[in-house]
């Protein structure tokens, strides 16, 4: 469907067309996954199901932008899918029996309302027998209805590479007989963790690269939020799903203030909190509370709770640091990684002061030696305790370890500003 969501008529830039296209984009995202899920269930074949979805969405794009979105878009697409199915059945004997069943499956489109199979679709796309990249691409393609071109633009990959990745993934599902179903209770937790990891990876990819360097690049943060919200609808009693949704919303509610007008990175302590979306923050904080009432804590809930503490604080100084510390202690039990320990050390420095935090950091050393934020954090703490020469060295080390232009600019600025009069005198 390379020609659907992103094929706006170049001449049609007036507001009416844009509004129509926005409505179409929203309708497509809601409908593409539903249609794909039903077709995969019925045909047992990802490739042919996606071909039908693509054709139907193309037909809808042509029709709906003229006639408007029908009252029952799912029914419209389902009817269109039956026509396409008959076409393919005539052409390809392999699918004949199944497609004939599909073509005969329902009467008028007013009463056609395929069952929601999207949960099975999501779990199949994120099956551990597929590589993480394949899981991400397949989920975006099938559940969100993105075209290979849109996926390619999100990951700065070539459309050809993405198309190939999708083909290989579909072939593996067929050949290795990856089942199309929601896993049973014994494996649900483990399999759900993979689904959440896929959504979080999409979000991070979109979040970290939204600096404006590549304006043509698709921002995945919205797709990730949409997916997490869909999953929360389909699995409302899974607290980690609610936690991930809250986490994504809390980040998105504050995304605007991460960069200033010149594209420079703004640290959390310096961000203008009045510009945050406080309604979205309150809604996400409610989700965190709702999740915690289920009494099955997990890493996404804890991360969301930490971010909620930051998002609800009136200022950096008036942040509930002791609470954040406790949450990091709990998070470390789930994710015992040096990076989480680094974040905890930053939080601790707000409670116990920079001297203790520096000791924490030095104990972390080794595994984080090639991580620029470790050195940048150390530099900040060293400067606070007046060890300026060491601070300078640490900032230089950090600078040597990151290629991100916004981060480099911030570090360079810090190095220039930190140059003491004595330094300058020595240089002169």
């Amino acid at each position: 469907m390379a020609g659907t969501r992103d094929c706006g008529d170049p001449a049609g830039s007036d507001i009416a067309v844009t509004a129509t296209e926005q409505a179409l984009t929203a309708a497509f995202r809601d409908e593409a996954g539903l249609l794909a899920a039903s077709l995969v269930r019925m045909l047992g074949d990802f490739a042919v199901a996606e071909e039908i979805v693509q054709d139907c969405l193309l037909a809808a794009w042509e029709r709906w932008r003229v006639d408007g979105i029908p009252d029952n878009p799912a029914g419209w697409l389902w009817t269109s899918a039956r026509h396409r199915a008959l076409d393919i059945a005539r052409r390809d004997a392999r699918y004949r029996a199944k497609l004939v069943i599909l073509a005969a499956s329902c009467g008028t489109y007013e009463d056609a309302q395929p069952a929601d199979d999207r949960l099975a679709l999501i779990f199949t796309c994120c099956h551990p027998a597929l590589s993480r990249e394949a899981q991400v691409a397949l989920t975006l393609r099938t559940v969100c209805g993105l075209s290979p071109r849109q996926i390619a633009s999100a990951f700065l990959a070539s459309e050809h590479a993405i198309a190939q990745r999708l083909t290989r993934a579909r072939r593996k599902i067929a050949t290795a007989a990856i089942p199309y179903r929601v896993p049973d209770a014994d494996h649900l937790a483990e399999r759900l963790a993979a689904v959440l990891a896929v959504i979080y990876l999409m979000f991070n990819e979109g979040y970290l690269t939204s600096s404006g360097d590549y304006p043509e690049r698709r921002a995945l943060t919205e797709d990730a939020e949409w997916l997490a919200a869909l999953l929360a609808d389909l699995m409302p009693s899974e607290p980690e799903v609610l936690g991930l949704l809250a986490l994504i919303r809390l980040h998105r509610a504050r995304a605007k203030t991460r960069f200033d007008r010149d594209g420079q990175l703004v640290l959390l302590a310096d961000q203008d909190r009045a510009l945050w979306d406080h309604a979205a923050i309150a809604g996400a904080a409610d989700l965190v509370v709702r999740a915690s009432r289920i009494r099955r804590p997990g890493p996404y809930q804890l991360q969301a709770a930490i971010v909620a503490c930051h998002a609800e604080a009136p200022s950096w100084e008036d942040t509930d640091w002791p609470q954040i510390n406790l949450l990091y202690d709990a998070l470390l039990a789930y994710l015992p990684s040096p990076v989480v320990a680094l974040h905890r050390a930053i939080a601790r420095s707000q409670v116990t002061g920079p001297v203790d935090a520096l000791a924490d950091l030095d104990a972390l050393g080794g595994p984080l030696d090639s991580y620029h934020l470790f050195h940048a954090t150390r530099a900040h703490l060293l400067r606070e305790v007046g060890r300026l020469a060491e601070a300078r060295r640490a900032d230089e080390q950090a600078l040597g370890l990151t290629a991100n232009p916004a981060e480099r600019a911030l570090l360079e600025q810090r190095l220039t500003r930190a140059r003491t009069p004595a330094d300058r005198a020595r240089r002169a």
Binding site: P128, A129, S131, A134, T175, A176, A177, I178, P179, P183
Partner: protein, 85 residues
């Protein structure tokens, strides 16, 4: 190929042609014995195959369930066979 099989038939037991390595799925065991499912084959240079079993299952999850409970050491690789369906 048919001629080769005919000539050596008396010495050949069960055979199947396997699907390509890109269809493989592996189950590895952590130090505490927990099973981890990963994408791809397990053979990397020096590893060696210790044995094989042909199994008849309805889908990959059923095969994975068997592999997870494998009491021996090492990795279990699951590879679909070419069938004439």
């Amino acid at each position: 190929m048919g001629r080769w099989f005919a000539a050596n038939g008396s010495r050949i037991g069960a055979t199947s042609q396997l699907q390509g390595h890109e269809t493989a799925t592996s189950v590895r065991f952590g130090q505490d014995g927990t099973a981890m499912v990963t994408d791809g084959p397990f053979l990397e240079g020096k590893e060696q195959i210790g044995g094989y079993a042909e199994i008849e299952v309805s889908d990959l999850d059923e095969a994975l369930e068997m592999a997870r409970t494998w009491p021996g050491r090492g990795t279990v690789e699951i590879r679909p066979a070419v069938t004439s369906r």
